[in-house]
């Protein structure tokens, strides 16, 4: 289980801090640790193996932890602080993740509804009897979403789906600007490349064999891997395009 680009600050060994010193230093240190925990949790929610349905219990526990941190940060007033922060101050990762959290909480507050998805809620309840092909293709499209973010139960919750998906994409876009091609490749190796081939997705052509993420790459995309930024950019444009389609449907 690797964690990318996060500061490894943990609560462990906190009790070793000297008493008086702790009084002075503990407060910023606690915020830092809390933030790091938040980042870690968000990554955990997104980086799950998507071949098998992820563990719902684990997802729920992590989500509850995130909520808990969020609540505490709101009470602290730390929340407002981060909201108004301009770019360039903290690390990019942290900004991205708190931006994510802001967005999801805003969406929750407003209770947005995307028309095309609202019918989805009921239909996807593991109901075997899906007749309409329209629902089927929507199902496959949401499948594409799930390939990118891993909250199982959010399948039932399309608006949050879209939010999470959006933020996952944003995260990739932002880090893309600043990272080397190698890590870009790594980033995309996490993404199931069947995503790129929307047609294949919609016809439900996932083959009945065990696919590692690497195999997925071979099966669906062209043999060339994304080694240059220009390739990535075009793939990003495709992703963008796909997002547009999903949003509009």
């Amino acid at each position: 289980m690797f964690v990318r680009g996060l500061k490894r600050k943990c609560f462990d060994g906190e009790e070793d801090i000297d008493g008086t010193l702790a009084g002075i230093k503990a407060i910023p240190s606690y915020n830092l640790q809390r933030q790091s925990l938040l980042d870690m949790s968000l990554v955990k929610l997104q980086l799950c193996h998507m071949l098998v349905e992820p563990n719902l219990c684990r997802s729920v526990l992590i989500a509850n932890t995130v909520r808990q941190i969020q609540e505490e940060m709101t009470q602290d007033g730390t929340w407002q602080m981060i909201n108004t922060q301009s770019t360039g101050q903290a690390s990019l990762d942290r900004l991205v993740s708190t931006d994510i959290l802001c967005r999801s909480s805003r969406e929750q507050a407003e209770g947005k509804h995307v028309a095309g998805y609202s019918t989805f809620n009921k239909d996807f309840e593991g109901d075997q009897a899906q007749d309409s092909s329209e629902t089927m293709s929507t199902a496959s499209s949401v499948q594409a979403l799930r390939n990118l973010q891993s909250n199982v139960w959010e399948m039932e919750n399309p608006q949050e789906n879209k939010g999470n998906f959006q933020k996952s994409l944003d995260q990739i876009f932002e880090t893309l600007e600043n990272r080397s091609p190698n890590s870009v490749e790594d980033l995309f190796s996490e993404v199931d490349n069947s995503y790129y081939d929307l047609d294949t997705m919609l016809t439900g052509m996932m083959s009945n064999t065990k696919m590692g993420h690497c195999d997925g790459l071979e099966t669906f995309s062209s043999p060339t891997t994304t080694t240059s930024n220009s390739n990535c950019k075009s793939d990003l444009n495709e992703l963008d395009h796909i997002v547009e389609i999903l949003v509009e449907s």
């Binding site: 289980m1 964690v3 490894r8 943990c10 609560f11 462990d12 060994g13 009790e15 640790q33 809390r34 925990l37 870690m40 955990k44 998507m50 071949l51 098998v52 349905e53 563990n55 719902l56 219990c57 684990r58 729920v60 526990l61 989500a63 509850n64 932890t65 909520r67 808990q68 941190i69 929750q108 309840e125 593991g126 075997q128 899906q130 199902a139 496959s140 499948q143 139960w153 959010e154 399948m155 039932e156 919750n157 949050e160 439900g204 996932m206 009945n208 065990k210």
Partner: protein, 420 residues
């Protein structure tokens, strides 16, 4: 050999079943004790091996369904054959394991090779006789209970009426009749109308050993609910609710995660339940809901390492726990191939290790100790040297004797009491 994912003795202790990640079930049988070799008390040998579940693909969700066996539960023996339930994430199967040690010989219409004989050539009639043959153990699937769970099955439990059983997934519990595979009753449903509101899942469930109307289920928030099926068809309202108030001094962001109950087991007497959460084992009296009567620390030295354990996902490991036959000792696993036993009467506890390197066959296990800080004594192991990839999640205790089965990743260890 694959990673063992469940271990279970049958009701007499004669058989021991293990399920693995590859969907296979291996059953061991205890040797008959012989007077010739009294020092070799009945050892367990492989009795039957079969493929219980295969990997499947859910085309609607485009996801694989793992063949890993999550639980095996035996039915009490009612005739010469043995029956067990085995389940993966989605499907429960009833298997019949039976022996064949005789075969009929001397058919009239076919010869020994099975070729049909020409009826006109038959001049004498004979009665086929049963002749002994090499023992053959066959496992056949008798029932397949499928398509009843949207979420992953974590528990199955055979009812004391021997006619029904329940299967529990993250959000629902279903009641089945063994004879009926195309229907089940939903008896618990905690799925919220809006999945956004989901904050709690079912983690384990079990029927009362004697009262066929009573069962318990545990949750990810550290609570246990006891339900009475006589009260209503859908047991969404509990009859009893067991929860220990939180200790405010120990509160952290990980409090909820470590309070999540990974296993719940009734005592054989039916009077108590035992729950396992990440750091402790608790014994509850069914008559007292507000706190457990006993709490045992399994590996409290991990409390200061919770953040690291969260990072590497170990904090989500689901340890099981077991009672001994007389309900006087409880056992559970830990890391580094350690497992722990707690004597409820003497209040003594011991840490033992299941590893080939550190103990020879038939040698008495040496108690182990984890040192927390400061000076490490010679035989102790420090917390930072613990191997968190070697976890003992599944153990079983013989129903009447002091024989235990311990699954250490892909190895099965069977330990017995010392023979005097």
């Amino acid at each position: 050999a694959d990673i063992i994912s469940t271990v279970e003795f049958n009701h007499t202790g004669e058989l021991l079943a293990t399920g693995d990640k590859g969907g296979r079930v291996v059953i061991f049988q205890r040797e008959q004790e012989s007077k010739n070799q009294p020092h070799r008390r009945g050892e367990y040998n492989v009795y039957s091996t079969f493929q219980s579940h295969e990997p499947e693909f859910d085309y609607l969700k485009s996801l694989e369904i793992e063949e890993k066996i999550n639980k095996i539960r035996w039915l009490p023996q009612q005739n010469a054959a043995y029956f067990l339930l085995s389940t993966n994430d989605k499907t429960v199967k009833l298997w019949k394991v039976s022996e064949r040690d005789k075969r009929p010989e001397g058919y009239n219409l076919k010869d020994e090779d099975g070729r049909l004989r020409d009826p006109s050539m038959i001049t004498v009639l004979r009665v086929p006789v049963l002749r002994p043959m090499d023992l053959m153990v066959e496992a056949t699937p008798r029932r397949v209970f499928a398509n009843a769970h949207t979420y992953h099955i974590n528990s199955i439990s055979v009812n004391s009426d021997y006619e029904t059983y329940m299967s529990a997934d993250d959000l629902r519990i279903n009641l089945w009749n063994f004879e009926i595979t195309n229907q089940s009753f939903n008896i618990v449903d905690i799925k919220p109308a809006n999945m956004e509101e989901l904050t709690e899942v079912i983690t384990a469930a079990e029927f009362h050993p004697h009262h066929c109307n009573t069962f318990v289920y545990s949750s990810s928030k550290g609570t246990i609910r006891l339900c009475d099926m006589r009260a209503s068809a859908l047991c969404d309202r509990h009859a009893k609710f067991f929860e220990e108030p939180e200790d405010p001094s120990n509160r952290s962001f990980f409090s909820e995660i470590i309070s999540s109950i990974s296993d719940v087991k009734f005592s054989h007497s039916g009077r108590y339940i035992m729950t396992r959460d990440y750091l402790t084992i608790k014994v509850w009296d069914l008559n007292m809901e507000n706190r457990p009567i006993e709490t045992y620390q399994v590996h409290d030295y991990l409390r200061s390492k919770l953040c690291s354990l969260y990072e590497n996902d170990c904090i989500f490991d689901k340890f099981e726990c077991v009672w001994n036959g007389s309900d006087s000792v409880i056992m559970t696993g830990s890391y580094n191939n350690f497992f722990r036993m707690f004597d409820r009467n003497t209040k003594r506890d011991v840490t033992l290790e299941a590893s080939r390197e550190n103990s020879k066959p038939r040698a008495i296990l040496k108690p182990r100790k984890v040192c927390v800080g400061g000076k490490r004594r010679k035989d102790e192991i420090s917390v930072d040297s613990l191997d968190f990839s070697k976890k003992i999640l599944h153990t079983a205790w013989h129903p009447s004797e002091n024989i235990i089965a311990v699954a250490a990743t892909n190895n099965l260890y069977i330990f017995q009491d010392k023979v005097n």
